[in-house]
Symmetry: C2
Subunit: 410 residues, 2 copies
C-alpha cells in the first residue's frame, strides 16, 4: 500500500445506490486484498478506496456513493462531482438492466467528453432476464458490457479482465527489468550465447532491454558469451552484483559463476517484468504433479521465432517427458491464437512474451487462474527441470519464499 496515489489507476465507480456497487467492489477484490483504508467523507462526497487489484496492481476506486441518490444529475451536482470525472482514468458504470436511464447517460457523457474508457456493468444478473432489451437501445452498444452477480459470482473474473483490458497503458505497471537487483554504480554480467539461430548483427529484445534498464538505473554491465564468462569474471576486482544468463546456457553459467554471486536468467527477469513471478513459480512447481497422459499447453507470443520454437517445440517437451517419465500430450499456441478455455490443461508454459505489453501477459494469467490451471514460462521450466530453480530465484526473496513454502508442504 506504499504506492503513491498518483501512480494508482483511478477507477471511478458510478451508479445508483440500489445497484450493489459496494458488494461488487468487495467481490472484485476479496480474493486478493481487503480494503485497508477508507478516507471518510460526507454522504455527498466520493469515497476513495486504495486497493491492490491483482494482477493489475495498485488501484484507487472512487466510489461515488454520495451522488447516486437521485435520478438525474442536476447542474449543481455535476459541479460537485466534476472533480471525480476529471481524475477518473477508467469509468465503471454499474446498473441493473431495468434501470439504464438519463442518470447513467449523463455519467457516460461526462466520461466520454473526457475520453475516459468506460465499462458498463449490469449487476444482479441472477435476478434479471436478459440485457439485450436495454443494450440495443442506448449509446453503450460499442462499450464493453459485463453482466455480474455477487450472489453467483458470475462475471467477477470477467470484470477484472475487462478492467485490465480497458486500463490506459500507463497504468499497466511494469515491475523493473533488472536494475533494482543491481543498484546504482554497480555491475551486472549479462551472458548472451550466440548460436546459429541468433539473428545476424543483432541482440534479441530482452537482452537490449536489460542493458538499457541497467543504464537507466545508473548501473553498468559486462556483456559476454558463455564461453568467455570465466575470463570476464576474472577481470573484475570486485564481484558483480548479479549474473543474468540466457536460459539455454544455464547449466554452464551456473557452473562458471561463483556461488556467492546471485544468478538468474533473462526469462525469469521477464516473468517478473511482464507477468507475475510468484504465480509463475507456483506454475513451475506444478511440473511435479504432471503424470503420463496429461495435456500441456506451450504458448508462444511470436508467430515466428526460431529460437523460441526450438525451445517450445523440441527442448521443453523432451525435458518434461524425461522428468515425468512418460508421454505427455503437448499442444502449441502461437501469437494471438490462445485457446479461449484452457481448463483441460494441467499446465501452461509460456514464452517470455518480450514483444508484448504486460497487459496481454497478465490477461493470460487471469484466464489460467480462473480455471485453476497453473501457468509458468520457458525459463522457469528450464531452471526447474535442470535442478537450479532455488539458485535462480535467490535474487527474488518473495518468490523464493513461496517456493520454499511449497517445497515444505510437498
Amino acid at each position: 500500500m506504499k504506492t503513491p496515489k498518483s501512480f494508482r489507476l483511478h477507477i471511478g465507480l458510478f451508479g445508483r445506490r440500489n445497484v450493489g456497487k459496494s458488494s461488487l467492489l468487495n467481490a472484485l477484490t476479496q480474493q486478493e486484498v481487503s480494503i485497508v483504508s477508507e478516507i471518510a467523507g460526507t454522504t455527498t462526497d466520493p469515497v476513495e478506496k486504495p486497493m491492490e487489484l491483482l494482477p493489475l496492481g495498485p488501484v484507487l476506486f472512487i466510489d461515488t456513493a454520495g451522488i447516486d441518490d437521485v435520478g438525474a444529475l442536476g447542474e449543481k451536482r455535476i459541479q460537485k462531482t466534476v472533480g471525480v470525472f476529471d481524475r477518473t482514468d477508467l469509468g465503471v458504470i454499474v446498473s441493473s438492466s431495468q434501470e439504464w436511464g438519463e442518470f447513467e447517460e449523463q455519467i457516460l457523457q461526462q466520461l466520454q467528453e473526457r475520453e475516459v474508457p468506460v465499462i458498463i456493468v449490469l449487476n444482479k444478473a441472477d435476478l434479471q432476464t436478459a440485457k439485450s432489451c436495454m443494450l440495443n437501445s442506448f449509446s453503450v452498444s460499442q462499450l464493453p458490457v459485463v453482466e455480474t452477480s455477487v450472489v453467483t459470482n458470475q462475471g467477477i473474473s470477467k470484470l477484472r479482465q475487462t478492467i485490465l483490458k480497458s486500463a490506459p497503458d500507463d497504468f499497466i505497471n511494469r515491475p523493473s527489468i533488472v536494475a533494482d537487483l543491481v543498484g546504482p554504480g554497480e555491475a551486472a554480467i549479462l551472458v548472451v550465447p550466440i548460436d546459429k539461430e541468433a539473428p545476424k548483427g543483432r541482440l534479441i529484445l530482452p537482452q537490449v532491454q536489460s542493458i538499457r534498464d541497467l543504464l537507466d538505473g545508473d548501473s553498468f554491465c559486462m556483456v559476454v558469451k558463455e564461453r568467455e564468462l570465466r575470463e570476464a569474471l576474472s577481470r573484475f576486482n570486485k564481484p558483480p552484483k548479479l549474473v543474468v544468463t540466457d536460459s539455454q546456457a544455464f547449466l554452464k553459467v551456473a557452473a562458471d559463476t561463483p556461488p556467492d554471486i546471485p544468478l538468474t536468467s533473462f526469462s525469469i527477469l521477464f516473468a517478473r517484468h511482464q507477468g507475475d513471478l510468484t504465480e509463475m513459480v507456483r506454475g513451475a512447481m506444478a511440473i511435479d504433479q504432471l503424470k503420463a497422459g496429461d495435456r500441456v499447453l506451450i504458448a508462444e507470443a511470436c508467430s515466428h521465432h526460431p529460437i523460441g520454437e526450438d525451445i517450445g517445440t523440441v527442448k521443453i517437451p523432451r525435458w518434461l517427458t524425461q522428468y515425468v517419465g512418460g508421454q505427455l500430450q503437448f499442444d502449441h499456441a502461437r501469437g494471438r491464437d490462445f485457446p479461449a478455455n484452457v481448463a483441460d490443461y494441467k499446465l501452461i508454459i509460456h514464452c517470455g512474451a518480450c514483444m508484448w505489453n504486460r497487459r496481454e501477459m497478465l490477461s493470460r494469467l487471469i484466464k489460467a487462474r480462473q480455471v485453476g490451471v497453473p501457468l509458468t514460462n520457458y525459463g522457469l521450466t528450464i531452471a526447474y527441470s535442470l535442478g537450479i530453480f532455488e539458485r535462480a530465484l535467490q535474487p527474488f526473496p518473495a518468490a523464493l519464499e513461496v517456493y520454499k513454502e511449497l517445497q515444505a508442504i510437498k
Copy 2:
C-alpha cells in the same frame, strides 16, 4: 592482395578484341592500384586479374580476351568458356555502338540464364555519334549502359559507380565494426550516454551492432553511461583494450579514460565499417580550409532521427561556425534526397549511415570524389573540432598515418 580469390567479386569482362577492353580496365583501375599479377594463359584461355577496385575492395577481373576473335560463339567455344560464365558474379559486356550483334547477344543470354547482373559498356564514345540507335533495338534496354572513353576519360567514374551498384550484396565487403581492434578473450568498454532523446527501452543500432560484433569476435564488453565510466574502469584489474564512446560524450570520456587505453567513437568505427575511414579523415581535415561564405552540405541517412537532427542541424553548424570564425552556408539533405551534383560544396558532412548498407555510403563517396569535394562524417567532425582527432584515430594506424602526413604538409 592477401584477399583470397573466393572473397573477391568476380567481374567477367566480355567483348570483341577491337573494343578496347584492356585500356578500359587500365583506366578503371589506374587511379588506384596497378595490376600486380597476371596469370598466364593461352590465347584462348581467359586471363584473371586480381585488383583493388576502390571503393568496392578486392575484385577479380576475368578478361575473356581469348574468346573474342570471332563473330559468334560456336557450341565448342561456349563449352570452353562456360566456366567463365559460371564463376562470374557481375558481367560487363564491352562494345562500341556500331558492333552490337549476335556475339554480344549470346554472351548476354549466357549471363542472364545464370541471373548474373550485367552492365553494358559502350566504349570509344569519343568516336561515336550516338548510342540510341542501337540501344532501342536490343534486349539491353533494361540494363545499365555506360558510355566510356579512355581518351577523354568519359564515363570511367560512372562505370566504377555502376559496378558498385550492380555488385551482389555479399561482395560489398564490410570492414569489421570493432572486434578486430579488441581481440578474442579481451574486453572493450562501450560508453552509451542516455539523454532525453534516446529511444525509450532501447539502444541505438550502432551500439547494438558493436556489442554483437564483439561477441561474434569472442570479445566481451562493459556497457556504461559516461557518468559511471570512471567507476566501471576502476572495476577492471587489467585495462580494457579499447574504449568506444558516443561522439557527444567525447570530451568527458577522453578526460576519464587513462591515456594508455585506446579511445575512439562509434561514429569513427562506422566511418570505417560503412564507408572509407582514410577518405573521411581527409574530409575532416578539409575543415581547416573552410572560410566564411563557403557552402557545406550536411547529409543524414534517416529522414527522422531526433538525435542526429540535433547534431546535424544545431551542434555541428555551431561548432563549424565557431571554428571558421565566420558564417557558413549550410544545406541539409535527408534520406535518399541527396543532390545529384555536389560540386558547389566545399565539404560534405554525413551521418554514420548505420541503417544503410555499405554500397549506398560508398556510392556517395564516389559522387563526392568525382567532383573533388571532401566528405567526412559527424563523429570525425566532432573529434576534429574538439581537438581529439589524433587520439581518436590511434586505433587505426593507416588513417592515423594519413592524418600525420597531411598535418606535416599543412
